[in-house]
Symmetry: C2
Subunit: 231 residues, 2 copies
């Protein structure tokens, strides 16, 4: 690859209860981009417990993070505890000002929304939370990756890989993205066709929604409060 | 999901220089299986630095890990430092005896091979290292996921997600795997068709092989030594 690439600083937000694959998928792609430094940014330097227990160490804190070319917010149920956290929302607002790209994966879009960063933008998120984007003045779009000006948002969890390859091509051109795709052997071949509510068996969609109803209802309440606070 | 599922203990090996997505993809799937405990197992409890810098905390050590139903070895260039590490090879041999499934993602298959656990088995690995499996008496198979008796091996990096969904269906049936696929919205849609040497543009394949030649040559030497040591 061309060693004359301009340095790129990528910042990924890390918080308790994050869905780790929302960020580890993009991390694998971003960290393979030329002359790129990926920073995992959290409230403190203590290891963060992700949704299912895996613990990841932050690289820096909200206060100490460098200027970022790309800001990326992953999702997970842990997002809900951040939606009214002024320290995090303030960080996102401040860093979005001079970032070239303001991005999210999965329900990380809700956090961008709560920071007022998706108002008037087309955006996507995990299928279960898609309608909630409207509360923040965004236009929900059912798609794997959605780009509107400098906002790029990905769908649920695994969409982060498709999202990150698109971002890589935006920043460094198609050849760099294709080379990364080859290195991570990304020619997906799911053994089942159940990756969206449109394709999964109806009883499986219903059962998953039933199991998630309590969490989704709490999220709905939190989003209502958070959206009322946007300046 | 059925709460009467028998408990399942999954052990994933963690080592410096591991490709984090080799393990974080499967982790996301395994940890969503019912009544399942995923253990990240390393030489010590110190955080492990993965290939591109992301640091993950182990849950337990090689000595303290519980009995495992499923043993999973991820890959990455860090594998090469493990191929002659008797402490790790001994751990794999001992744990493979009573595991229901002995599995790998990406070049983790080389480590299973060095432990003598793939002799006479069909197996796959990252496309760049596929021919090396024969050194360990395995039959290299070009496929996304390969199952031969209780050995299940996945291809490079992102193949770990396809692999893990297949494992979930083996352990808990198709409905459980489909429900997990829906939850992680795994309906992949790569923006480019460059995920294998068969599909990627020829110049991109050539350039990646050239950039990797030094590391691949060292791996070839290490594999030659390691395969000569198998009892």
């Amino acid at each position: 690859m061309n060693s004359a690439w301009k340095p790129v600083d990528v910042g990924i937000l890390l918080f308790d209860g994050v869905t780790q694959l929302d960020l580890t998928g993009p991390y694998e792609v971003f960290s393979r981009m030329p002359n790129t430094h990926v920073h995992l940014i959290a409230a403190s330097l203590a290891p963060v417990r992700t949704e299912w227990g895996l613990r990841i160490s932050p690289d820096t804190t909200l206060e100490d993070a460098p200027r970022l070319d790309l800001l990326c917010v992953p999702g997970g149920w842990g997002v809900d505890d951040c939606l009214e956290d002024e320290r995090i929302l303030g960080f996102l607002r401040a860093r979005a000002v001079d970032a070239r790209y303001v991005t999210s994966v999965c329900s990380g879009a809700l956090l961008l929304g709560a920071a007022g960063l998706l108002r008037g933008y087309r955006a996507t998120t995990h299928w279960m939370s898609l309608d909630l984007l409207a509360s923040f003045g965004a236009e929900p779009v059912h798609d794997r990756v959605v780009r509107d000006r400098n906002r790029i948002t990905g769908g649920g969890v695994t969409a982060g890989i498709d999202f990150a390859l698109l971002v890589a091509s935006e920043l460094f051109g198609v050849s760099v993205a294709q080379s990364i795709q080859l290195a991570i052997e990304y020619c997906p071949d799911p053994p089942f066709d159940s990756g969206s509510p449109q394709h999964a068996p109806a009883d499986i969609v219903r059962a998953l929604l039933e199991r998630s109803a309590g969490k989704l209802n709490r999220r709905r309440d939190t989003v209502a409060r958070a959206s009322a606070r946007i300046p």
